[in-house]
């Protein structure tokens, strides 16, 4: 059994294609059901976000499954294979584990370190479990990747600092006021930027949002969208008295809020802090207002500078995170290889058992003369003997971490004990018995 992954992401495909292979359109559950029609994949998890669409599977034959999966991607989304295939990437074995860890911890995201992806992967796995599409391999892989991602996030500062302008504004508001729930926000202007920032603030459940614009109609429309109240342009200064956060984004060519106006307001506010976010271009607020003691004035450049600094800081942490993931993948690989040796171990155990049974059968005439208790004892002792003989080789095989050695060992064991012959003739017990009676396996009688 091996792991295989096939997908597209922002690294390999344009947004126009990613939109067409978005699993959420028809639903992940449906995708998992349709995957059942491709029996080469024995387990599956489907992950879909706005930046990626990936299918993780467990399979016996990698090549055949890969062909099946690309056919599935193409047919499920109705995108011609010729168009889709150049953008597909695939990984197998340990690389699937590494990729999943990078995805889950946010290293592979468009915005490095973004936290949402963790929840999205968890949800994808939960859906697959619910649909009973996962098995031994994926049930080990996904929870393991969550543990690794959690460690990466707590031990590096990968997820720290705002990396979008509106998130930077929210972070600043929190650093100044603490809880945003009691805040009063004034939005000046009704354009796209004003709406974006107001929506972000609204999602943090601020107490009150007032919207003002030179045209009251536009202010009213935005106010309705963000659950605020529209106020008249002429009562701007009055509103400045009671607000905590001001977001300005008008298209005005000259400043609409002067330092004098804010100075006057601040006196009346008895120096209560005022956070002014000026995302207008050109700027709406006279920069001298920022010199007033309790006024925190940030324009779009200031916010963008914070964002790029945070991004650079996150980038610095990536090498540490990659190293942590590599260590974890090594452990996972060891587990995976121990799974790889499993068929050999099962065959070996079956072989020993066959020898034992044949010897017991051969000695049956003699043994039958013994009392029942002694016969049971012989059975028990031979069984324990086999268990003891096999214990060390089993443990040794499970601990071999590198794939090549594991294969060599498995092949050697198969040849030495002629396990292939056993498999071929597993139905013919007599042949196995004959072949191994020469082994003189000790039998106590």
């Amino acid at each position: 059994m091996d792991l295989l992954l096939l997908g597209v992401s922002h690294h390999t495909s344009p947004v126009s294609l990613r939109e067409r292979v978005d699993f959420s359109k028809r639903g992940i559950a449906e995708a998992l059901h349709e995957l059942e029609g491709y029996p080469s994949a024995t387990e599956a998890v489907v992950l879909t976000t706005c930046n990626r669409a990936e299918v993780y599977v467990a399979c016996a034959d990698k090549d055949a499954t890969q062909t099946d999966l690309s056919r599935f991607m193409s047919e499920f989304h109705g995108v011609p294979a010729a168009e889709l295939n150049p953008h597909l990437y695939s990984h197998s074995g340990a690389e699937v584990a590494r990729h999943l860890c990078r995805v889950t911890s946010g290293l592979d995201s468009l915005v490095v370190g973004e936290p949402q992806i963790f929840g999205q992967v968890k949800e994808a796995y939960a859906t697959a479990s619910l649909e009973r599409a996962t098995g031994i391999l994926l049930n080990k892989l996904f929870p393991w990747s969550f543990t690794v991602a959690k460690r990466v996030r707590t031990e590096t500062n990968l997820g720290e600092g705002a990396v979008s302008v509106s998130y930077a504004a929210i972070t600043l508001a929190k650093k100044i006021f603490g809880d945003l729930k009691n805040l009063s926000v004034l939005v000046i202007g009704a354009g796209e930027m004003a709406e974006l920032t107001a929506t972000h603030l609204q999602s943090h459940q601020v107490e009150r949002i007032a919207v003002t614009s030179r045209t009251l109609d536009r202010a009213t429309r935005l106010a309705q969208k963000v659950g605020g109240t529209a106020i008249d342009w002429t009562s701007l200064e009055e509103e400045l008295l009671q607000t905590d956060v001001v977001v300005t984004a008008t298209g005005s060519s000259s400043p609409i809020i002067t330092a004098g106006m804010i100075g006057h307001v601040m006196q009346a506010r008895r120096n209560r802090p005022l956070f002014v976010i000026d995302v207008g271009l050109p700027r709406d607020v006279d920069s001298a207002a920022g010199d007033l003691e309790q006024v925190f004035l940030y324009n779009i450049d200031d916010l963008e500078a914070i964002v790029s600094e945070n991004l650079a800081r996150r980038q610095e942490q990536t090498s540490r995170a990659e190293a942590m993931i590599s260590d974890a993948v090594r452990d996972f690989l060891a587990w995976l290889h121990s799974r790889g040796a499993l068929p050999t171990l099962v065959a070996l155990r079956r072989h020993f058992e066959a020898v034992r049974q044949s010897e017991l059968k051969r000695l049956e005439p003699k043994l039958s003369r013994l009392p029942q208790e002694a016969q049971d004892r012989v059975d028990e002792v031979t069984r324990l003997l086999i268990q003891k003989l096999l214990h060390t080789p089993t443990e040794q095989l499970k601990t071999i971490a590198d794939q090549v050695s594991a294969t060599h060992y498995a092949e050697a064991i198969t040849q030495v004990f002629r396990l292939d012959d056993d498999n071929d003739a597993s139905s013919s017990e007599s042949k196995t018995s004959a072949a191994h009676t020469e082994d003189k396996t000790p039998v106590t009688s």
Binding site: L172, N271, R272, F296, A305
Partner: protein, 276 residues
């Protein structure tokens, strides 16, 4: 120095170093170690104060060295209380080094002082404990004030970094400062009032030169009155003029430097009264 003094000093030092490392690296394990060392120090300190009380028969707050040590003890307990209730370890790096320095001063001048019968009074205990509580609260206020200014500067200069990533919001720090000053002022007022009443009871019929030297012109008394005025003004300015935030922070720093001045140099060298 007794063994217990050395152990205490080492524990406070270990806590100080750990809080420093915690602040720089934000490793939770180091943070827990810091809290653990400080808790151990505070417990041993409590034990030491208890033992001394039993030994002397009155609260061991006589002599500058003992007073400073008691102040360290109360501040450590007050800080631990704040840390546990707010789950906020970031302030430790500012408080614990102060504990280390004061405890070192107290330890280096460690000298056993015989109990004075005049101090064997409930008034004395109330007076000293109130004032020490007040000073511990003022120390906390000063430290949170300093952190306010540090964070304020980062936010104003738009260079968010070290402190913005580690400290709570300006609003929270300011509220902590206001509360600490309020509590401190209350205890200071009670301590001063109790001291005055006690003095009026003692002065007519005592020949003790220390008690006779107590007047508004004694440096220890005039400086403590000055600190009372500073804190009274801070409370007035905050509630009436709207002097919160940075100005309140500076005022609490000014107030506490006066308190420290009173506690260390004046306590040691300048006062005729208050040296029993």
């Amino acid at each position: 120095m007794t063994t217990i003094t050395i152990v205490l000093l080492l524990l406070y030092l270990a806590a100080g170093v750990s809080y420093g490392f915690f602040f720089a690296q934000r490793s939770q394990m180091v943070g827990r170690l810091a809290t653990l060392s400080l808790t151990a120090a505070a417990l041993i300190h409590t034990f030491a104060v208890g033992m001394r009380t039993v030994e002397v028969g009155q609260l061991p707050f006589v002599g500058t060295s003992a007073v400073i040590s008691a102040f360290v003890w109360l501040l450590a307990v007050a800080y631990l209380y704040t840390e546990v209730t707010t789950d906020e370890r970031a302030m430790g790096v500012f408080i614990v080094p102060l504990l280390v320095v004061l405890q070192a001063i107290s330890a280096l001048s460690d000298g056993a002082i015989e109990p004075t019968p005049i101090l064997n009074s409930h008034w004395f205990a109330l007076h000293v404990v109130s004032l020490l509580f007040a000073y511990a609260a003022f120390a906390l206020a000063c430290v949170v004030g300093i952190t306010y200014v540090l964070l304020f500067r980062e936010l104003k200069s738009k260079q968010l970094g070290f402190f913005a990533a580690r400290l709570p919001s300006l609003h929270v720090i300011d509220a902590m400062n206001g509360r600490a000053v309020g509590v401190g002022w209350l205890f200071l007022t009670v301590g001063l009032a109790v001291g005055t009443v006690w003095l009026f009871q003692l002065q007519p019929d005592t020949a003790d030169p220390h008690v006779r030297a107590m007047s508004f012109f004694d440096p220890k008394i005039s400086v403590v009155l000055l600190s009372w005025l500073v804190y009274s003004f801070e409370i007035y300015a905050r509630s009436v003029i709207g002097w919160s935030g940075k100005r309140a922070a500076w005022l609490s720093a000014l107030g506490f430097s006066i308190v420290l001045l009173n506690l260390v140099p004046i306590g040691y060298f300048l006062t005729d009264s208050h040296n029993f």
